[in-house]
Symmetry: C2
């Protein structure tokens, strides 16, 4: 699952990963203040470590810092979620286009295998897909783009935020079988090296997802 060497080396690394996890999964609530002293005692490291971790969290747009005042976890707003999906549509669309151009035959084979294993689970009625499977699929295409900036922005930046929204607004919802078909068509386009179509299908796929999420927002 974890594609990249996200091995923590320094104490700041470990603290950053831990803090990010706690924020994304709701252990630290959205909008809450991050007191350096408090976190310092909680995670048993010096304030310097906490400060570095907070700076990195700011880079992924998970917290906002104001000079001489402090850092807060970002607030989750419906508008913010829409903003995110617009950026996703744009970037992942381009990722799919580039994947159609740059993925190796082996990578495409693996993508097909992944899809088949998904199909098995969907067929047997397992409530699959909700999280890991979907993320896995998207990650492979993003990485398949071979574009470093694209990869960093999406995987290090956007995806953690999206997950934070999903977790804290309780959106592990349906869109299972339909999404599977969309995935299938995207892979087909990539297999055919049809860049134009791959981008268009991915953008639509994410737009559907956005609408699905929007519908849930108004209900709650």
């Amino acid at each position: 699952m974890t594609f990249f060497n996200e091995e923590p080396i320094t104490a700041a690394d470990k603290t950053f990963f831990q803090l990010r996890k706690d924020i994304v999964e709701g252990g630290i609530l959205a909008g809450s203040k991050l007191s350096e002293a408090e976190l310092s005692t909680k995670y048993c490291v010096s304030r310097a470590i906490i400060r570095e971790a907070i700076n990195r969290l700011e880079s992924c747009n998970l917290v906002e810092r104001k000079a001489n005042i402090g850092a807060r976890v970002v607030a989750l707003t419906p508008a913010g979620l829409i903003d995110l999906y617009q950026v996703r549509e744009s970037l992942e669309g381009m990722a799919a286009r580039l994947a159609a151009k740059n993925m190796t035959p082996e990578e495409i084979d693996n993508l097909n295998s992944l899809l088949n294993s998904h199909f098995q689970k969907v067929k047997t009625g397992e409530s699959y897909y909700q999280e890991a499977g979907d993320v896995d699929f998207h990650y492979r295409i993003i990485l398949g783009s071979k574009n470093k900036h694209l990869i960093t922005m999406l995987i290090d930046g956007i995806y953690h935020l999206v997950r934070m929204y999903r977790v804290q607004l309780g959106m592990s919802g349906p869109r299972i079988t339909t999404a599977f078909d969309e995935h299938r068509h995207i892979v087909q386009a990539i297999s055919n090296r049809d860049e134009e179509l791959a981008e268009m299908l991915m953008r639509r796929h994410i737009m559907y997802s956005k609408k699905n999420v929007e519908a849930k927002l108004v209900k709650s």
Copy 2:
């Protein structure tokens, strides 16, 4: 010109801005190592300040840090520049689409005024456009998208890198009058609230720019 309140408050802010400027404008060469001690004496601040500044530079993808080894200014490669333009095409295309949807009539009027003032200068043969004017135009559309993530990624992230490439590879080149026509058509699409067309034209505009840059790369 400077749209955003980029007022430095802390010493770390000032040092970050200064370092960024020195890197983007080539005062510190691409690929060179950033020694904390050295920079500390050079900029007359403590190592802690330098470290924070370097961390922020890493967030904008201007430097790369390795644990226990140090930070280097990113290397400028032809492939890296192509990657950048692909991301730009994707994000600015979406920005133009959202601008067509979200810009106020006043903002659109101002954009038209800007375009007219450009036209005057182009007509009188001033070797305009090379830098500020073009950036100004693009910034307004990016800001007009009203999408916070989009704005941050482009203005805080991509644009400094693009400028670094331009400066250090000596690309202040032509593409003056043709680019003006492209700008004109984009504004027209935005005025008509034609999201689809605005995005398409912006993407083409950046693709042309990319090809222009590619042509210069092979020559050098």
